[in-house]
């Protein structure tokens, strides 16, 4: 019995030491309670898109693949127990195309149980192929379009080939850029070639009354063509000449 106990004690000694070696290490500094623990986009099919939370520079980076065609994001945010985050988890980020085209400051402030605050900045990175526009003009040969507003009906159709266009027209925009760099109102995109990622057709039409905004703003002159395609945009190197009669 005695021997048995002794062996058992020895075994326990070893076990205890093994168990205790883990607690001998010094505890790491407690993690800040005003952190964002996880940030993910949940309004997608399948697994959520996980964001990378960086505590060093208080940023969150999310990578959005273009093919998901997302125009609104629904984030799910977790924070330590007792902490709160504003805007709250689930607050939608709407009109994503506007975020891409005009930028928007999106920040999250976490308030810990003890009242300490920390503000994170959201960075949205779109993963998308390059947008390439084939030129309509060259340095010496300027392509010309003419629209006669005295007619009951007239139209010009700007056919641009290239790559990186979206399948859905509503994720794209075509504008004329005048010589001062000002962008005119968007040009209507043809719906007859939807799904073609190598061609878009923009049409300016004299038909409706009042005339469409781009036609009202248009004056005879040189314009570069700028295309927005989801998270990217590109402008032709050479302008085209548009005559408005």
């Amino acid at each position: 019995m005695q021997l048995y106990l002794r062996q058992f004690a020895a075994a326990l000694f070893i076990l205890a030491f093994a168990a205790c070696t883990k607690t001998e290490t010094i505890d790491p500094a407690p993690e800040a309670q005003n952190r964002i623990i996880t940030y993910s986009i949940v309004n997608v099919q399948g697994d959520p898109i996980s964001g990378a939370v960086n505590d060093r520079d208080s940023s969150i980076t999310i990578y959005i693949p273009f093919y998901r065609q997302l125009v609104v994001l629904e984030p799910e945010i977790t924070v330590p127990e007792g902490a709160t985050v504003t805007p709250v988890s689930g607050t939608l980020i709407e009109d994503l195309l506007d975020v891409f085209r005009n930028g928007r400051d999106i920040k999250y402030t976490v308030t810990a149980k003890d009242g300490s605050k920390r503000t994170y900045t959201l960075r949205i990175v779109v993963q998308q192929p390059d947008l390439v526009l084939d030129e309509l003009s060259t340095a010496t040969d300027i392509a010309e379009f003419t629209i006669d507003t005295r007619l009951a009906y007239d139209a010009i159709h700007i056919k641009l080939t290239g790559s990186g266009f979206m399948e859905e027209n509503e994720l794209m925009k075509m504008v004329l850029v005048d010589e001062t760099g000002r962008e005119l109102s968007p040009i209507g995109l043809s719906t007859t070639n939807v799904g073609n990622i190598h061609l878009i057709i923009g049409s300016i039409t004299k038909f409706t009354d009042p005339q469409e905004p781009v036609l009202q703003e248009l004056k005879t002159g040189l314009y570069k063509i700028k295309v927005y395609s989801y998270g990217k945009n590109a402008t032709t190197k050479f302008p085209v000449k548009i005559n408005k009669l």
Partner: protein
């Protein structure tokens, strides 16, 4: 002596091992849970797009059957809605399905699906089942009530769920739909007020909502004030429909 030491050791071992960090519980995502109860609901003159014409797509109208309310288009890639009235005259009823390429909810989390219940024997009372058009207009209103009530359960095997839209019946397609579009006014020859008119038919759509509840829905009209025999003078873009939703998770659609 040994016994004391043993106890000592046991205690140390136990203390050493109980240092598990309990992970913080994730917060529930936001969202208001103003869901409806199981029941029949009727939506009257819902202004979808009052400028709608037969010439082009109308402004889409996104609707939550679970909350019985309109959802803004800016939320089309969320789970907040179940169906959308889309396209010309808002006539295409799409489910919120994020996997369906080219549909309004594409890319989002939507899991809703839709089907249309078609019973040719029942159809024969008001409909030419070979030419796919109403026999006479207006269609007897009692048939609408009968059709709605006769759908008592979900029959997926007979009327499979799809992720695309249910729209106008056999209009430029081979698909059964919820309404007849008389493009040329063939049902009323010589009456110019009768072309490009949409007549609802007593057809029931069964919908599995994004959250997985079953509902049945019947279009009553797309014209203002629910006219029985609409003409071009009636204002389109005002949707009247009725639906019944089962919130207990079952397929029982025998709802009063």
């Amino acid at each position: 002596m040994y016994r004391k030491l043993l106890w000592c050791l046991l205690l140390t071992a136990a203390a050493a091992c109980s240092k598990d960090d309990a992970p913080a519980k994730p917060e529930e995502p936001g969202g208001d849970g103003n869901t409806v109860k199981t029941g029949v609901y009727r939506v009257v003159n819902l202004a979808a797009d009052t400028t709608a014409t037969s010439g082009g797509n109308a402004v889409s109208l996104y609707y939550s059957l679970e909350e019985n309310k309109v959802i803004p288009e800016s939320q089309r890639q969320t789970g907040n809605w179940d169906i959308v009235f889309y396209g010309i005259y808002n006539s295409s009823v799409y489910p919120n399905n994020g996997a369906a390429l080219g549909s309004p909810g594409y890319g989002g989390p939507g899991r809703a699906v839709i089907s249309v219940v078609v019973n040719r024997k029942f159809d024969a009372q008001y409909y030419d089942t070979l030419q796919y058009k109403p026999l006479q207009l207006p269609i007897d209103r009692n048939l609408f009530a009968t059709a709605f009530e006769s759908v008592k359960t979900v029959e997926e095997d007979k009327f499979p769920f799809i992720t695309r839209d249910i729209g106008l019946d056999h209009f430029q397609s081979g698909f059964d739909g919820w309404g007849h579009y008389d493009f040329y006014g063939l049902l009323f020859p010589g009456d110019p007020k009768k072309s490009h008119v949409v007549y609802t038919m007593p057809r029931v759509m069964v919908i599995k909502t994004h959250k997985g509840h079953y509902a049945k829905l019947m279009m009553e009209n797309i014209y203002k004030d629910n006219p029985a025999n609409p003409t071009r003078d009636n204002k389109p873009g005002f949707i009247t429909f009725r639906y019944a939703i089962q919130m207990d998770g079952s397929k029982n659609l025998d709802i009063q």
